[in-house]
Subunit: 274 residues, 2 copies
């Protein structure tokens, strides 16, 4: 098959995740000719009937972490040097947008490969406490927030992922702001133990999630939510992004956890569709 | 909230991905009491109306790679030692079940964070060439395979992920068998350049995938599919698993690529639902 073409094409694309317009692929001549030959609108039409949001931060070197070293990367090979491009990564499992599996805090608890596919595709509920959190970084999501949510939006479905939107994901670019203080003096919102266990006992949810560094509030020293919620054999998600872009109820979440061998959780791609 | 309970519970679970029965979470007393209090069948009922398959290999230390060192991991902290458990990982981006982004082979091509969410949720098509591949490890998926597929299963939809099932994922436990030889003499199936470009020009697919180490067949020295398919600004998936468990057409694929900063692709969790 002959692929003639001598032009190069620079396509301006919108990076949906970051919401910024960026200059994208400078295609080779053959590729540009192929792309130019496509019917107009063909690529954009793929998901015309479905809304998608990305609840994931870019996994980047230096992303703020609760403890241990932040992620790092190095270039292994470049196209000019070796004909292709690839990087190497080193990071702790609790970096970026990631899962806490039960075994992160529970001896003998399930590890990353044991979280079943059925647990990774689930109804999404987003509880907004951003207004209160902007005035008080030590606030928690409490049972009253859940009751008020249900009065307005209806019952939280069984098997849901219930995510706290505290507005914190906007701070992720600044480690000190995201942590709300230096190590040992963190201040950011989290779930109260009572709310997390109410969701288990009264609504049988599958998972909880936060847009901060920890399921527990930053000033916790006892990690009650980690200890007691994960002990119910459910998982938590930390470092979620863009929760303000999805409806409070009605979306489905896809939790793309890499099945890290013997993993305590680990980085995952979380998408929402509705 | 008081969580009484003195028993410990050992739950036997089926690991859906590996198809083996394993002993799972030994829950703490409080967690066991909570789980025991759930309505019977509540947890299993979550996805009763939907089939799910996991197209992802466990991301493990030593998983066979085309080049560079295989993934490695070390324990950072243990529950007895530090109150929680976590690992650290080091690996090249082309390890395990992973994506090749356009920028892997195309200078200026899009990188991992630039693959849009809309490109990660797409129709899945599986083309089975396993019978031929079992007799000839150097075989390729050719245009005739696609034409035969369409005669039997209908037209390949625009925007699809078209995956080659060569039966190779069963060999992943044995690096020599998976590679089909020592470095420099690999033998495993792949896409022919003509078939990959037919899918672009005639069907406007979004992506192709393989259950082997490379989009190109193992004996390729020119990497035509990498060069010419990625140059069309589309992505490839390598190291897919369990393709024989999904229908040839009609499933949706969710490609949970971690948005690795400046990534050439990288590990992703791929699920299929139908």
């Amino acid at each position: 098959m002959c692929l003639p073409g001598t032009i190069e094409s620079v396509r301006a694309q919108t990076d949906e995740r970051q919401g910024v317009t960026r200059r994208a692929a400078v295609l080779g001549a053959a590729g540009a000719a192929l792309v130019a030959s496509l019917p107009a609108g063909a690529r954009a039409a793929r998901t015309a009937s479905q809304r998608i949001a990305d609840l994931t931060h870019t996994f980047r070197a230096g992303f703020p972490v609760y403890t241990f070293a932040p992620p790092s990367r190095r270039t292994l090979v470049t196209i000019p040097g070796g004909g292709f491009y690839a990087q190497e990564w080193t990071f702790g499992e609790h970096s970026g947008t990631h899962m806490d599996a039960p075994g992160h805090f529970v001896a003998g608890g399930r590890l990353s490969p044991e979280i079943t596919p059925a647990e990774l595709v689930l109804p999404l509920v987003v509880v907004d406490i951003a207004a209160r959190a902007s005035a008080d970084p030590d606030t928690t999501l409490v049972v009253d927030d859940l009751i008020r949510f249900e009065r307005r939006h209806g019952r939280i479905p069984k098997g849901a992922l219930v995510a706290m939107d505290s507005g914190w994901s906007a701070k992720a670019a600044d480690p000190l702001a995201f942590k709300g203080g230096a190590a040992g003096d963190y201040h950011f919102p989290g779930f109260s133990r009572e709310a997390a266990l109410w969701l288990v006992q009264e609504r049988d949810v599958a998972a909880i999630g936060v847009d901060t560094l920890s399921l527990d509030p930053g000033d916790s020293t006892t990690f009650d939510v980690h200890v007691d919620f994960l002990a119910t054999d459910r998982y938590g998600l930390e470092g979620l992004a863009n929760l303000d872009r999805v409806p409070p109820r009605g979306a489905a979440a896809y939790v793309g956890l890499i099945p890290w061998e013997e993993g305590s959780g680990g980085p995952c791609r979380v998408l929402a569709t509705w």
